[in-house]
Symmetry: C2
Subunit: 470 residues, 2 copies
C-alpha cells in the first residue's frame, strides 16, 4: 500500500508508546498492553525514562533512542511534558503522533497549547512532518489489524468486529461508548478515530482520508463544531456523491450550543441552518445515537432506492399500521402496487390476507407467504423499497424464512428493511437475518427514518457526480 | 373484594375453557394448560364434547354440565360454534366470557357477527348478563395471580412480572409482542387486556375499570379506533387527572388510517386533530412502541415536576450536549441553577468540572461528585427535574453510586431520569439502578421526550381535578 500522511495512523509498521507504564490501570499501561496483545507486539517500543523495562520489554529514555524508524508514536504523558516528547518525535522523524494527553485548550491552558502549536507549525514548515491526532483524545481503533490506542478496560468497553462503517468522534467519551455499544449490536467498524482538539489533523482531513479509503463504505461522525467549517463542508460535498456521510451534530440547538463553546471554536447556527447546510453538502443527519448506526447499517447493506414508495409486508395488522404511520411521517410514501402484482399474490393466499399497503399476511403466515409477497413487491414498478415486518410470537413462522430472506436479498435491486420486536427468541431470529446480509430494526420510526435517509441520499447522489474516488 | 361486572375477567374463582384440547400446539391446548399450571388448576374446567378427559381432567360436553357456578369462560372454538356455546354461557349465568375465536366482523362475516351481537344484547336486556371480551382477541394476562388466556408458547412469548403498568390493546399480535418485550425489559405489568372486536366490553369500559383499579398506577393503550369515540374521550378526561393514560394510536395519519378502516369502525382524522383531542382529554401520546413503555416507566416511578426546567449532569461532555439538544427540542428548558447552588458544587470539585447546564463532572468523576451535583440540583429552586448521565466506560465511577442514587430517589420530590448506553457492563449497572426504583434510558431523545410528557401531564393535572377515584 502506498502510504499517504494519514496512513501511518492506521497501518504503522512500528510504534512507540511514550509514557508506557507498568502500573496497572494507568493509560500508559493499557495502551502499551494493547500493542503487546496485538500483531504489533514485535514492532512496539516502550518509552519511559523512569524504567529500564516496562511490561517485560526494554524501555527507552527517549523515542530518539529506539534503533529503528518509528511510524507511529502514541503519547500518554502529563500535558506539561508533551511539548518536549513531541519535539523528540519530530527530530526522530516519526511519521504520525497520537497525543492522548489532556490539559490543553479544552481547559483553557493557553501557554502549553501555543507551545505545542508552534512545534506542529514549524515541523510542517521544515518539511520534517510529524502529523498529529489530538491532543485530548482516545486515538484510533482499527479492528482489521488490531491497532488500538483506546485505553479503556475491555470489561467496560468492548471492541467491535471489523466492517465497513468508519466513525470519527470529536468526543472521546462518546466514541468509547459507541464502540462498546457497536460491539454488543454486532456492528462492524472500519476505522475509528477520536481526534479531540484537532490541533493538526481535523475532521475535514479525516473525511478526505476515509473518502478514499477502500475499506470504508459509510462514514459516520459525531461533531460538535468543525475547526474550519467551510473546509469541512466543501470536503463533504465532494465526498458525499461517492460515499455516504452520516453526522450526529452535538449543539444543534442554540441553547445547547452555548454549552459547547467553552471547548471548541465551533460553528454557530440554529438547527434549521444546520439542516440546510447538511442537505447542500449531501450529509445525512442523524438526530440521536440510535439513528447514527441504524442509518449506517442500512446504507452499508442496501442498494439506493429509485423513489420514495414503500411497500409494507406484515403478519401483524397493528404493527403494520403503526409502521404505515411512521412511513408517512418520515416523508416517504405508501406504495400502490400494480393490479397485476396484487393479483399475483391474491391468487395464492387465503381470503383473510389483505393485499393492500400494508399487505397483512395475518398471524398464520408461513415462509412461503412471505416469499410470495416480498418477491411480488420487489418486482413491482410502483414499489421502490420494502419494509418486512415479522412477528415471531406466532407459531407458524418457521426458521426457514431466514435463508429465503438471504436468497432474495442477494438478487434484489431494491432496499429491504426487516422490522421486529421481542425477547430472546426474536433477537436470535433477527441476528440470524442480519448474518444473511439484511438490516433489522426494532421500532417502526427508526426503520422508516433510516429508509427516508437512504431515499434522501439517493436523491442527492442522482444530482451530484462522484469524481473523487478512483 | 367487591366484584363489579369486569372483576370476573381478572379475579375469577372458577373458570371454564370451552374448546379445551389435548392436541399440543392448539389454542385450546395452551389456554387450558396455562390454567392447569396456575393457582387456578383446581377451579378450571374443560369443556369439549368430543372427549371424556382433556389433559388428564374430566371434560364436560357443555359449560351447563359443570356442577359449580362459573365466573369466567374462555371460548376457543371455531367461529361458527361460538353463538351456541355462548348461549350456554348465558343460560349457565357465567359472569364473564372471553371469546378468543376469530372469524367475525374483522373478516366481514356479517351473519355470525349479528347472531353473536343479538345474544349479547338480549342477555343484557334479560339481566342475565354475561359480559364479553372479544371476539378475535388473546384475552387477559394478570401477572399478580397468574391468570393467562394468551395462547402463545412461552418460548416465543415470555410473560412479564407484576407491576403497576396496565396495558390494553385492540390488536392481539401487538399485545403479545409488547408483553414479550416487556418481560425482557423487566417492566412490571398490572393487567393486560387484548379486547379485539369489542362487541361488548370496549376501550372506554376498560379505561373506566382500570381508572378505579388500585393496582394500576399507569394506563397504557394501543388503539386503532375507539368503538364510540365520544364515550372514550369523555371517560379519558375524567380519569386523566387521577391517573395517567398513555396511548399509542395506530392509523394516526390519514394514509395509514385508510388501511385500518377494513377492520374497525374507527375515528377518522389527521395526526393534528388527534393531537388536539388527546391533549384536551389529558391523554399522553406516544409516537412509537419504545415511547409507550419508556413514558409509562417514568410516570410510574417519578413524582410530577413543577415546571419545565431540566438540569443535566454528566461525566461525558458530548453525551451531555446531545442531551441538551434533545431537551430543547422536546419543548423543555435548560434550567439555570442559582449562583448559590452552583457555588456549592464549585467549592468542592476540581477546576476542570464545568458547572453549567450540563454540569460536566468530567471523565474522572466518582460517586461523591455525582451525589454533590445531584443533591445540589434537586435542592435548587430553578430546577424542576434532573437528567443524570452516567457513562460507565470510565474506570472511576464505582458501583457504590447505585445505592446513592436509590437513597436520593427515596427522598427527592423532583423527577430524576438516568441515561446511559453501552454493552453488558453498562446494562448490568442500569438494571441495578432500576432495582433502586429509578428509571433508566439509553437515548437522549427518549429520556427528554419522556420528561416532556411527564411535564405536559403535570401541567394538565394542575388544571383538572381528580374526582373519580376514592
Amino acid at each position: 500500500m502506498h502510504k499517504t500522511g494519514l496512513d501511518y495512523f492506521f497501518y504503522p509498521k512500528t510504534a512507540a508508546v511514550i509514557g508506557a507504564s507498568g502500573e496497572r490501570g494507568s493509560i500508559g499501561y493499557t495502551t502499551f498492553e494493547n500493542f503487546l496483545h496485538s500483531r504489533f507486539k514485535r514492532q512496539a517500543f516502550a518509552v519511559n525514562p523512569k524504567h529500564k523495562t516496562v511490561q517485560g520489554k526494554k524501555s527507552y529514555a527517549s523515542v530518539k533512542d529506539i534503533p529503528q524508524d518509528i511510524d507511529l508514536a502514541v503519547i500518554a504523558v502529563p500535558a506539561k511534558v508533551v511539548p518536549a516528547v513531541f519535539k523528540d518525535c519530530i527530530e526522530k522523524r516519526v511519521k504520525a503522533a497520537i497525543i492522548i494527553s489532556a490539559g490543553f485548550a479544552e481547559i483553557g491552558e493557553k501557554k502549553l497549547t501555543a507551545q505545542l502549536q508552534g512545534l506542529i507549525d514549524s515541523s510542517r514548515a521544515a518539511k520534517r512532518v510529524t502529523r498529529v491526532i489530538g491532543p485530548n483524545c482516545i486515538g484510533v481503533l482499527v479492528p482489521e489489524n488490531g491497532l488500538d490506542t483506546t485505553f479503556f478496560e475491555e470489561k467496560r468497553m468492548r471492541r467491535p468486529k471489523r466492517g465497513g462503517i468508519s466513525f470519527i468522534s470529536q468526543s472521546g467519551a462518546l466514541g468509547a461508548l459507541i464502540l462498546d455499544w457497536a460491539a454488543m449490536e454486532e456492528i462492524g467498524i472500519g476505522k475509528f478515530v477520536s481526534y479531540g482538539n484537532a490541533m493538526d489533523v481535523d475532521e475535514a482531513d479525516l473525511l478526505e482520508y476515509l473518502g478514499k479509503d477502500p475499506r470504508t463504505k459509510v462514514i459516520t461522525a459525531y461533531l460538535e463544531g468543525a475547526k474550519e467549517g467551510r473546509k469541512f463542508f466543501e470536503c463533504a460535498r465532494r465526498i458525499s456523491p461517492c460515499k455516504p456521510i452520516i453526522v450526529l451534530k452535538g449543539g444543534i440547538t442554540e441553547e445547547a450550543h452555548k454549552a459547547t463553546t467553552s471547548h471548541t471554536g465551533s460553528l454557530a447556527g440554529s438547527a434549521q441552518v444546520y439542516g440546510a447546510v447538511f442537505r447542500q453538502s449531501g450529509i445525512v443527519q442523524a438526530r440521536d445515537l440510535n439513528e447514527l448506526f441504524a442509518f449506517a447499517k442500512l446504507f452499508e447493506n442496501e442498494p439506493l432506492p429509485h423513489g420514495k414508495n414503500v411497500q409494507i409486508i406484515t403478519n401483524g395488522g397493528g404493527f403494520g399500521i403503526i409502521t404505515a404511520d411512521a412511513v408517512v411521517q418520515s416523508s416517504l410514501k405508501l406504495a400502490k402496487m400494480s393490479a397485476a402484482g396484487r393479483n399475483r399474490i391474491k391468487k395464492k393466499v387465503p381470503k383473510t390476507v389483505v393485499v393492500g399497503n400494508p399487505i397483512d399476511l395475518t398471524g398464520d403466515a408461513d415462509s412461503g407467504r412471505y416469499v410470495l409477497a416480498l418477491e411480488s413487491a420487489l418486482a413491482d414498478r410502483n414499489v421502490d423499497s420494502v419494509i418486512v415486518i415479522m412477528l415471531f410470537n406466532t407459531p407458524t413462522l418457521e426458521l426457514g424464512v431466514v435463508k429465503e430472506l438471504g436468497r432474495i436479498r442477494k438478487k434484489a435491486k431494491k432496499p429491504i428493511a426487516v422490522l421486529s420486536l421481542g425477547s430472546e427468541f426474536t433477537s436470535t431470529m433477527l441476528s440470524a437475518i442480519e448474518k444473511q446480509g439484511l438490516t433489522t430494526f426494532n421500532y417502526p420510526t427508526t426503520a422508516a427514518r433510516a429508509l427516508a435517509a437512504l431515499s434522501g441520499y439517493a436523491e442527492f447522489s442522482r444530482t451530484g457526480k462522484c469524481t473523487e474516488i478512483p
